[in-house]
Symmetry: C2
């Protein structure tokens, strides 16, 4: 199930291209549909939301907003054990994200000059949560907690109603635990339109975050600039670097934990040991039988599962840097020793007892990560995703008198005489 | 030249819509042309670059790269005074941006658990510099210095050749002073294609920054995701908050320094004093006669020049927060007192002797700023624009044994049994 490649024989460019072609989906038809939906929401507001919900979700809604009563009832529908796990996860995620908070700064100079940077939270943020089988309470935590820590004033959540016009109780509980301010039962591209333009009921936000299907993803792209968005998540991947001492059982399990997401997911083992590889292949066949999503896993591994055999760990890391995986597991002794060599990876799982789900659910780091090679330049969702910066500068009369000529020289050189003039009038 | 509005009478929603409509340009034709150009560059590499340069810039290039000799000759073509001003500006800009450098962090917990965030500079960055009258050496400084401070390994600059196949000497000098690694004579959408896909001569980069015309802007949008980009700059604006003690001469000059950029630029005075407004209008007519770009300024002020009369400074700031201007001048006593109230602004110029060109050229803050209301959620270009973050986490055997059940509960709840399995195999 895992294609076998040797480091010395692989064409690195082809390897990357093969992974990246996962993203080439036919988008043009979707764009037309989504453009139409967005324009209706912009022009007709709530009416459009109610009509689209009737059309797509087959539910006639009276109220778009989830009431306090509905929300409290969610707690009766979920297991105590789930609530406890979610609350513990919340504490860990908060601990980690609090360390990301940045402060402004100021520099003071001679002649009374000072300049600096001010940090402010975004005013309000919209979190989209998909419905159906893709309704993940963990996503609620991962998207909302960094916004809360950043100091965002109002967090609005949109999620499609179920067939009875209710909301998924697990999502409701997660939203309540992390302190979402308002929840509306709207899904799909129309939800993104509502957050981007505002309607009678739903407030326009500064930024939209959260995963979604192709309609949601395209809608986010189209409203980008009008509001900010998080990233557009592509197909995801795991890359496991493992030495010969690693347990093939663990590796097989971890590869499949990624593969179960999606047929386009990619699971890659990069190892110094061919024997390990053989052990992993055996383990895959043993373990897969007990997994609910066997079919998806098999398809994903057949298309995008790979093993690359390297001569040493250094080569393994070279491959990983090239692929820039969303998740990187480093199953080696003293994994911290290699952290400096890792250039491109969304989240790095160190040691033999830290499978990716530790980060997906519980450990504290964020699970919203750059996919499909974009860890080369994108970062995990963080507190920084929910702030904005402003610079400020003060000049005294003395300072402009001393430096004015330099500014005039540069402005004139660029042919911007009105720029030069704004300094000149102060030197007269 | 400045439309007069009263705070109590304005419809705030219409005010915003009027400013934002500046961006609605006919893009569809341009998209087709740019798509074609990008695809040619992707498939034909250098050959396409040479052909497009012949077609658009009317120059037949032998070498795309600017040689060391060509670069050194630039220094003979520019004034000593210009070089001095640029070097002083460089020091100020470096000082400011060095304060933006972030460090990674680590949190250690019980049972050997640790987790944290690692910060790495982008590997290589492409800076686009337009040709002709829009060739601004100050832009070279503002785009390159933060990348250098971030620790970017290689900075590549692309700029169109002049009609003799040379480069603008001021741009060349600026590039040399800030330490650009390689310069190529390629402009337009084809330059963006080269940086996004790479050619035989030009290396694919992780991020493209720098301003450009509509073809460049659309090309950047289209390659976004394949590489990172800075923002798409829209029409720019200044908003001046001034009390009755302010000098109308200064205000008139500052409004025009913004207006000269572009007919779509917007210049807004928000003041508590109608008398001040009347003084400004008089001053505009006096000063405009001596400015080279009189025609552009007049058009811009007629279309998007406004004065709003407020009852107090608090109201002035409310208006400013609503508009979220790229540049905000605060011409009041004790301007720092109001900094906490300013929520949305790209760069804030404090006091009566700090016109916007201080920040455009010399003071140290960056002049690449969020335009057209996007300061609500975007930030100035900064060192953060040239780094990426990775999270990391380590779990010991003991830690997974203690927390494994919680993770299994959450994974199962989401129907992801392979996720649960990756923990289970470690608990056996």
């Amino acid at each position: 199930m895992l294609k076998l490649l040797e480091f010395n024989e692989i064409n690195k460019r082809d390897l990357i291209i093969e992974l990246q072609r996962r993203e080439e989906v036919e988008q043009s038809k979707v764009i037309d549909i989504v453009t139409e939906i967005l324009s209706k929401v912009k022009n007709e507001g709530d009416k459009a939301l109610i009509n689209f919900t009737k059309e797509f979700d087959k539910v006639e809604l009276k109220d778009l907003e989830v009431s306090q009563k509905e929300l409290e009832e969610c707690f009766n529908k979920v297991e105590e054990e789930f609530i406890k796990a979610l609350q513990e996860a919340k504490i860990n995620i908060e601990d980690y994200h609090k360390k990301q908070k940045q402060s402004g700064f100021i520099i003071t100079k001679e002649m009374g000059v000072y300049l600096g940077q001010k940090i402010s939270p975004l005013e309000n943020v919209g979190v989209y949560v998909p419905g159906g089988t893709a309704a993940y309470p963990s996503s609620v935590l991962m998207n909302v907690i960094p916004a809360k820590v950043a100091g965002v004033n109002e967090i609005i959540m949109l999620t499609p109603p179920d067939k009875n016009g209710g909301i998924n109780p697990y999502i409701g509980v997660a939203a309540k635990i992390v302190g979402v301010n308002k929840i509306y039962k709207v899904g799909g591209a129309q939800a993104i339109g509502a957050l981007a333009y505002g309607t009678e009921t739903i407030k326009k936000v500064d930024k939209i975050v959260g995963p979604g299907n192709i309609f949601v993803a395209i809608a986010k792209k189209l409203v980008f600039g009008n509001v900010d968005i998080d990233m557009i998540a592509g197909p995801s991947e795991i890359l496991i670097i493992a030495d010969e001492k690693s347990n093939p059982k663990f590796i097989a399990a971890d590869l499949m934990s990624q593969a179960e997401h999606d047929e386009l997911a990619s699971s890659i083992l990069v190892t110094t040991s061919k024997k390990l590889y053989e052990g992993v292949v055996k383990e895959l066949e043993i373990q897969i039988k007990n997994l609910e999503r066997e079919k998806v896993i098999r398809k994903s591994l057949e298309c995008f599962g790979k093993t690359i055999i390297c001569n040493d760990i250094k080569e393994c890391i070279d491959i990983s840097n090239l692929i820039a995986p969303e998740h990187l597991e480093l199953m080696v002794d003293n994994p911290m020793e290699y952290l400096g060599e890792v250039k491109n990876a969304g989240s790095i799982f160190l040691g033999r007892y830290c499978p990716e789900p530790v980060g997906d659910y519980f450990g504290g780091t964020n699970h919203v990560l750059p996919t499909n090679g974009t860890a080369r330049f994108f970062s995990p969702l963080s507190v920084d995703s929910f702030i904005k910066k402003s610079s400020f500068i003060y000049y005294s009369k003395e300072a402009i008198e001393k430096n004015g000529d330099r500014i005039i020289t540069l402005a004139n050189r660029e042919g911007l005489t009105a720029h030069a003039n704004s300094v000149k009038v102060r030197l007269e």
